[in-house]
Structure formats: structure tokens, C-alpha cells
Symmetry: D2
Subunit: 142 residues, 4 copies
């Protein structure tokens, strides 16, 4: 699939996700087998210590895995997350969350992907805050 | 800890979580080793097929696990999620999401909890949509 | 499927697993959606503290999940584990390890199961030592 | 810690693991934050299709994660696996299983590591068969 068409296809799916607007996420990059999604730190999305909520980090990483998987499937398909596992490594403070995903094993039925969520601080340094391993399936499968 | 004090303590922590307001979640029940959190279905919280987003189900289940764990710790502590794993079992359609968590193994350092997320439909029937197993740690630990 | 035929089918698959003989495991029970597998504590199967190795607990739980899943599939199929997650809750000491699995969500493509591994001591008391959540697929799928 | 002392320390712990002799595993490499463990394919360690059993792949990857974590802790400590998650990506056929682990986030209380298990065929090519993400704790912690 040409790169531009891939970008369009992923943007179209992304635009249908209400939750992405709520957390102000955007696709920073999409190429075959990879996807990066970013979202700004917002006070409205925190947990009880004022850090970005684990649920937000998970949402970003999950979506990045999903679109990395989708990028390798034939047009017309969608993917669903069958399961995910995520370790939270450090408190998520900073100005921007960046979820970078990569397909580890593509497959017609099951795709396995990994993602890492980095927090960028005001001075531009990035800190690894979460690591995910997830299994995705075409939406016709479940 | 008396039941009322437990409820107060969890409500106080919950109120500090910006994300809980965004998804309109509320604590439906909290007792030693257990916690139930509910949130209404909202179009703004969907994924690309119009179902409640996996990230929202995860957020609810994660918080329910966290407060189930907190309920067994000495006052003055907070908990963080070290890691979680969640399987998505069915599309999350309905009017209310209900995350029910239970501590499987309490511990001074590590607490292991399980949660299930059920979707209630308009006619009151409930469908199991997600199952989580998570590891929580006191916030002084990480 | 009649109960006896289910038992026979699972025993036949089990007998082909070299590893089951090495750890002296046996199927204690198999009925639709459930399976229990047991193995005696052996010094040869320990980790560095003399407890049963996490890998052995995982193997027992994984197999119990697999046969619980298989019990709900049409004859002639086999299952593979797509992924598993296991928490180790307490040191595995005692005389017998008992892995009890149950299907949480059957499916044509994906089956989700949970297992718990209990250690039985000489006086017959049982202690919960590990908890698993796993995704199984028919062997034609991967 | 000098490299030789690290190697000795890990070998000493490894030698106490009965299960490692059963699966004929050996430490191929150990340096700060990394560990590689190998084991030959054996008919006795298979599942029902004649592939290396998921439990064996998990055992190797778990141990590699454990020693990668141990390599960064002060002498005199041991580690335990708190939890692990592993995806099985391809059937494990070949002559040698190689589990390569790396610490993603070291910590006084929690260490997070990742491992990959590769199968080497007779002609020397390697195939990625499993991917793990695990949480380790010092053995005094649980």
C-alpha cells in the first residue's frame, strides 16, 4: 500500500474514535508495521498524584499497536485488541506523551505488537514510562 | 478500618483523579479487598466501531483493582499499578460499564488483583466484556 | 461430546506431550470448559531456593488452560497457546501441584481461560501459588 | 561488579536449579543487564505436535529475565519472578532454543525485563518463537 494511502486509511479510522478527541491524541507517524501517537499532558487526564493516568498511557499504546497492526493488513479491514499487557515504569510527568509501536509478528489471524510510551519534558528530554505487549486481531475475527 | 472511613478514603483519592471526571466514573462499592466502579456509555469514549474504547474499559478495571488493593493497606498509603494484563472478550456496547475488582493476594509490597468489566444493556442484562489481572504496589515502592 | 470421549481425547493429546512425562503430570479431571492437572513435587524441578520452578507452575497451568479450551472445540482440533500471563503469588512448596483451569470466554478463533495453581502440603491444606490468564487458539489458526 | 564475579554468581544460582539440568540449559552469556540461556531441542520436552513445549520456552525466557535482573542487584541477593507474560509467535522447531533477556527498567524493588526466544535450525538460521515481558523482585521482597 502506498504510504499516503496508509496514512489516509489510519487517519480515517482514528477520526472515528471519540476517545482520541477527548485525550487530544494525534497520529504522529504511520508506516508499515509502525505507528506513533502523541497526546499532550492535561490536568484533566491525571491520576491521584497528578501524573498522567495509567489508563491514558494504555490507551495511547493500545492505539499505536492497533494501527501498527492495521498497516500490514489488506485494505478494508479493521483491527481489535484481543489482549494487552503493560508495565508502568516511571511516573508520567512532562508535557507530551509519545507512544511508539512496532509489529513483532504479523499474521492473518493474530498480530503481536510492542509499544513504549515516553514522556517528553519541557526541555525536550524523553523518559520511558510504560512498555506494552499486545495481541491484535482483524475485527472480523472475534 | 471501619467501612465508612474506607469509603471516605477511597472517595478522597478518587476525587483527585482528573480522568475519572472525564469518563464520569463513580465508585459504586468499596469494601475490604473489593471495589466496583461504574461509568455510563458515552459516544465521546468510543473506538472506531462505536463501542466503548478498550482504553476506557482498562481504565475502569485498573482503578477498581487499585482501590481494592488500597482497601487492605494501612491508612496514609496510596497505590500505583505496576503492571496489568487485560483480555477483551466482547464488544463493549450497552448503557453502563461496571468494573468489579477483587484482591487475589494482598501483600506489603505486591498486591495481585483481578477485575472483570461487564456492560449493562438497557434491559438490565449484563455481558462480560473484559478480564484483567494486575499487580499493584504502594506508591512509596516504585 | 460425551464425557468419556472428552476424557479419551484429552488423554490422547496429553500422552503425546513429552514434557508431561518429565514432570510426571497427569490429568485429574476434564469436563466441558474445565481441566485439572496435577504433578508431584520433585527436587529435580526446583528453582534456586528449592521451590517448584515458576516454569513448572506455568507449564501445568498452561496445559490445564489448553485442555479446558480444547474440551469446547469440535473433535479433530488441537489448541495452541497464543499467549499467557501468570502471577506468582507464594513460594511453591508442598507435595503436589494442582492446576485448575476454567474457560472464561469460548470462541471459534480465540478462547480465554484462567487457571490457578495450588500447592498441597503433607497435611492436605492447599495454598494458592500462581494465577494465570491465557489466550488459546485452534492449532490451525496460528 | 567485575564481569567474572557476575558470571560466577549467576552460575552458582543456576546450578541450584534442578529444572535447568532436566532441560539441559546453560548460561551462554551474562553481563550487566543482559543474560542469554540456551537449551537443546529434546523429544522429551515437546508438546503434542512435536514442537518444544510452551512451558520450556517460558522457563528459559523466565530464567534469562531473572539473571538479567540479578546482574544489576547488589551481591547476596536473589530474584524471584513476580509475574510474566509471554506471546508464542511460531512453532518451536529446530535444534537449539536461545532465550535472550534484557532489563528494560532496573529498580530496587521492581525490575522489568524483556526476553525473546529464538530457535536455531540445523543450518544456523534463527527464528523468533516467543516474546516475554516480566517483572522481577528481590527474593526478600515477596
Amino acid at each position: 500500500m502506498p504510504h499516503q494511502e496508509l496514512q489516509r486509511r489510519i487517519e480515517a479510522s482514528f477520526a472515528q474514535q471519540g476517545l482520541m478527541r477527548v485525550i487530544e491524541a494525534r497520529i504522529a507517524e504511520a508506516r508499515p508495521g509502525r505507528c506513533t501517537i502523541e497526546a499532550p499532558f492535561r490536568k484533566t487526564l491525571t491520576q491521584q498524584h497528578g501524573f498522567l493516568h495509567a489508563g491514558v498511557l494504555t490507551t495511547l499504546a493500545d492505539n499505536a499497536c492497533g494501527y501498527a497492526a492495521l498497516s500490514l493488513l489488506p485494505p478494508g479491514q479493521e483491527v481489535l485488541t484481543a489482549e494487552l499487557k503493560v508495565n508502568f515504569l516511571r511516573p508520567a510527568r512532562g508535557v507530551l506523551a509519545i507512544a511508539r509501536a512496532e509489529v513483532l509478528k504479523p499474521g492473518r489471524t493474530l498480530t503481536v505488537a510492542r509499544a513504549e510510551v515516553w514522556m517528553r519534558s519541557e526541555d525536550g528530554t524523553e523518559t520511558l514510562c510504560a512498555a506494552m505487549q499486545a495481541t491484535l486481531v482483524p475485527s472480523v475475527t472475534i
